[in-house]
């Protein structure tokens, strides 16, 4: 099956964010809203384990939610006291995220195009990279996200844990260890482990890297 072009993929996300309910649009389309809620909470708990259970309203952690969609994770992390920037390519999703408010700052940007004078304590990228279909753009995105992680900070990216890459349908290319590990080692990050979502039949989990 031919993969979507960049323009088609952008249109796909705008339409999906327009038509689908809050959690289904950024979550899993096969699940209803209630199941997606469980799915979101499961992944939030995983993020908490990996970002840590400390927060400080006075001197917060700075987080980047890369590919934030409608901003559910950004808002929840902001409610923990963290300072969150959310970026996404879809204006429709960002309109929704801004309307919800809740603390994060939202910006329209591709993952490869985000520029900042500040580095982040953690950059999270939940269920986005396997929707970047072009390998060169995927690599630019991963490199850019890695460059935004400060010393001691973490990069958490969702993908599967097979060795190889594989396309599914026309809008997903899952990439595996052979793609992530050498690339991020080259970016100066240390691989800390892969943490499965363990949600129903999902094969996805979070790759955790630390800048040391």
């Amino acid at each position: 099956m031919a993969l979507l072009s960049d323009v088609e993929a952008a249109a796909y996300w705008n339409e999906r964010h327009q038509q689908e309910s809050d959690l289904r649009s950024g979550g899993h389309m096969a699940f209803d809203e209630a199941t997606n809620r469980m799915f979101y909470i499961r992944r939030l708990a995983l993020l908490m384990d990996l970002i840590g259970l400390q927060s400080s309203p006075v001197a917060p952690l700075f987080l980047l939610d890369a590919g934030c969609g409608k901003g559910w994770f950004s808002r929840e992390l902001a409610r923990f006291g963290h300072q969150v920037d959310g970026i996404d390519a879809s204006e429709v999703a960002l309109d929704h995220a801004r309307q919800e408010g809740g603390g994060p700052r939202f910006h329209r940007s591709s993952l490869s195009g985000w520029r900042s004078p500040w580095l982040y304590d953690a950059v999270i990228c939940v269920d986005v990279l396997f929707h970047i279909l072009d390998d060169a753009e995927w690599e630019r995105s991963v490199r850019n996200l890695a460059s935004l992680v400060r010393l001691g900070g973490r990069l958490l990216v969702a993908d599967w844990h097979e060795e190889h890459d594989q396309a599914f349908g026309n809008y997903q290319v899952l990439r595996g260890r052979r793609s992530y590990l050498p690339l991020l080692q080259d970016c100066g990050l240390r691989f800390e482990g892969w943490h499965p979502y363990d949600f129903r039949a999902s094969v996805i989990g979070l790759y955790a890297f630390t800048r040391r």
Binding site: G52, L53, Q54, S55, S56, V58, A59, L61, P117, W118, L119, D121, R150, L151, G152, G153, R154, G188, T210, R211, R212
Partner: protein, 190 residues
């Protein structure tokens, strides 16, 4: 971070050496609520490697009491400094000079929640080192370790690079803050 989480963060406190400042009894009760009987040693006794040196430094304290005790800290000795200034106003030059002068590495600096009633706003964990201890992330709450792998050249290049760039980009912000503060001030009479 809570004040009672600090001794574990500092790598434990089988005994404590109070190096000055603050209300020792009150602060030790807040730090070690479950272990009020923790042995205390005098700063001029030989320093036990499992002991934690603790001091309070704040606006109303003479700055030099604890720094004299610091010079008695042997290599590997750990120090927990409780600081009596809000994070945004922390005059850290007052503590950095004595720490570096005594050969100590600042391992972690953290805000302390809900300890204002004890006059504590933030804390620093440091240790006397003979080589660099592993670097830590902000708000990492696992106990510090001194004997892990020394940071390598890539980490040190990153550290100096981040320091240099952060030092540059923070300048316009500091300037902007000064402008805003000046704007907030009522115009002087006359």
């Amino acid at each position: 971070m809570l004040i009672k989480e600090l001794p574990a963060l500092a790598g434990g406190a089988d005994s404590v050496v109070w190096a000055g400042g603050g209300n020792q009894d009150e602060l030790l009760r807040a730090l070690l609520p479950m272990r009020p009987e923790t042995p205390r040693r005098a700063a001029d006794e030989p320093f036990d490697p499992d002991a934690l040196m603790i001091a309070f430094v704040g606006p109303d304290q003479p700055p030099d009491g604890w720094s004299a005790a610091l010079r008695g800290l042997p290599a590997g000795g750990r120090l927990l400094l409780l600081l009596g200034w809000p994070v945004a106003d922390l005059p850290y030059h007052l503590v950095l000079d004595p720490l570096v002068g005594a050969g100590c590495q600042v391992l972690q600096a953290v805000p302390v929640d809900k300890a204002n009633r004890h006059g504590v706003y933030c804390a620093v964990i440091a240790a006397r080192v003979e080589r660099l201890a592993p670097l830590r992330s902000y708000l990492d709450d696992s106990p510090i370790t001194l004997d892990g792998p020394e940071p390598g050249l890539p980490a040190l290049l990153r550290l100096t690079g981040e320091h240099t760039f952060a030092d540059l980009v923070v300048r316009p912000l500091r300037r902007r803050l000064a402008e805003l503060e000046a704007g907030d001030r009522p115009a002087s009479a006359g």
